[in-house]
């Protein structure tokens, strides 16, 4: 059986995933009732509401169906949800908005500012993808753990308004 922490983690993943789906739906300008008629499975708006609030668990197939109807990539929805919920970050490719990172004044991770400034010269939209190996190396350079740095970097997920240019630079 799951203990309380695991249940809480599962709930957090479901909530974050639902939140991402809701953001994508609202970005498309659909109400729940308008959106469900586009779905081939014919689910009701209450079921969609339960998904969006994390009250009902999605199968991968349902995630693909919803993503297809929303016009977004399911892997992006999942990645952003996990990053936003800061769950399972150790194996996750993190999306980092360098401009938001530069505005943050964390003393512990101050050397990252220079790195972010240098990277901004190469990346016009200011968004980079950081694979786990890169986070590990940066953490070693900063004298931090991969987990701590990943949790810090996860804060700088690009906001939806910044997502118009979907090309990311992989480090």
């Amino acid at each position: 059986m799951m203990d309380t922490e695991d249940e809480e983690t599962a709930r957090a993943v479901a909530r974050a995933l639902g939140d991402e789906l809701r953001r994508a739906r609202e970005a498309g300008g659909w109400s729940r009732a308008q959106f469900v008629v586009r779905l081939p499975s014919g689910i009701g708006d209450r079921t969609l509401l339960a998904y969006e609030h994390g009250l009902r668990h999605l199968t991968i197939l349902r995630l693909l169906e919803l993503s297809e109807a929303l016009g977004v990539y399911p892997q992006d929805v999942l990645g952003k949800a996990l990053q936003r919920a800061r769950i399972h970050l150790q194996n996750l490719v993190l999306l980092v908005d360098l401009r938001r990172l530069l505005r943050d004044g964390s003393y512990k991770f101050r050397p990252l500012s220079q790195w972010a400034k240098n990277r901004l010269n190469d990346v016009p939209n200011g968004i980079v993808e950081l694979p786990p190996a890169a986070v590990r190396e940066l953490a070693a350079f900063l004298g931090s753990t991969q987990q701590d740095l990943a949790r810090y970097l996860a804060k700088f997920l690009p906001e939806p308004s910044d997502d118009d240019d979907q090309s990311y630079e992989v480090m």
Binding site: M1, M2, D3, D6, A10, V13, A14, L17, S31, A33, Q34, V36, V37, R38, L39, P40, S41, G42, D45, H57, L58, T59, I60, L61, L63, L64, E65, E68, Y73, P74, Q75, D76, L78, G79, L82, I87, H88, N91, L92, V93, P132
Partner: protein, 173 residues
């Protein structure tokens, strides 16, 4: 009253009215009226409800095959990840706190069950693979759901036969 409103709305949609015109005719705010029509699958501004239902008896064969392939490929990716990590199914089941049994996990790896996102993420974490990256790989291999292929729609096929019959043609392209 409600069935009557729906019938009238359906008639007006067939005659080419937009949801704005219908809302004005009904004396309701446009968004509220659009929501009402959408609940009854009568929204004239949206694409009509697809005929490729993804569950139940009306699921098209193509979608059922796609879903089966998708489940198998997800299972295969998880099994490959587990074997690369040198773990057996029992160790993975223990790593995910036995939220499912070892037998269920093995059946999921064979693609016999649709896997939930939560379980997928947990197994990915237990075997040390990137969940979004794994999902991207699966989608690249299997492809998107075949919802836009007109050859696969029973209703569209029937409509084409009907049109051909009415036109007096015996052959359908």
């Amino acid at each position: 009253m409600r069935p009557l409103v729906v019938l009238v709305a359906a008639g007006l949609i067939v005659s080419g009215c937009t949801s704005e015109e219908l809302a004005i005719a009904a004396g309701k705010p446009q968004k509220k009226f659009a929501d009402y029509l959408a609940r009854h699958a009568l929204d004239p501004d949206s694409t009509p409800r697809e005929t490729h239902f993804m569950k139940g008896k009306r699921m098209s064969i193509a979608v059922a095959k796609w879903a089966m392939n998708m489940n198998r490929q997800i299972g295969l990716e998880l099994k490959t990840g587990r074997q690369s990590a040198g773990l057996d199914a029992a160790a993975v089941a223990k790593g995910i706190d036995y939220i499912v049994s070892v037998e269920w996990l093995e059946e999921c790896e064979r693609g016999e069950h649709p896997i939930t996102v939560i379980l997928f993420v947990r197994v990915c974490r237990a075997v040390g693979i990137d969940p979004p990256g794994t999902l991207r790989r699966v989608i690249d291999l299997v492809g998107p759901p075949p919802l836009d292929d007109p050859r696969l729609s029973d209703v569209e096929g029937e409509a084409r036969w009907r049109a051909a019959f009415q036109a007096g043609s015996s052959s359908v392209a």
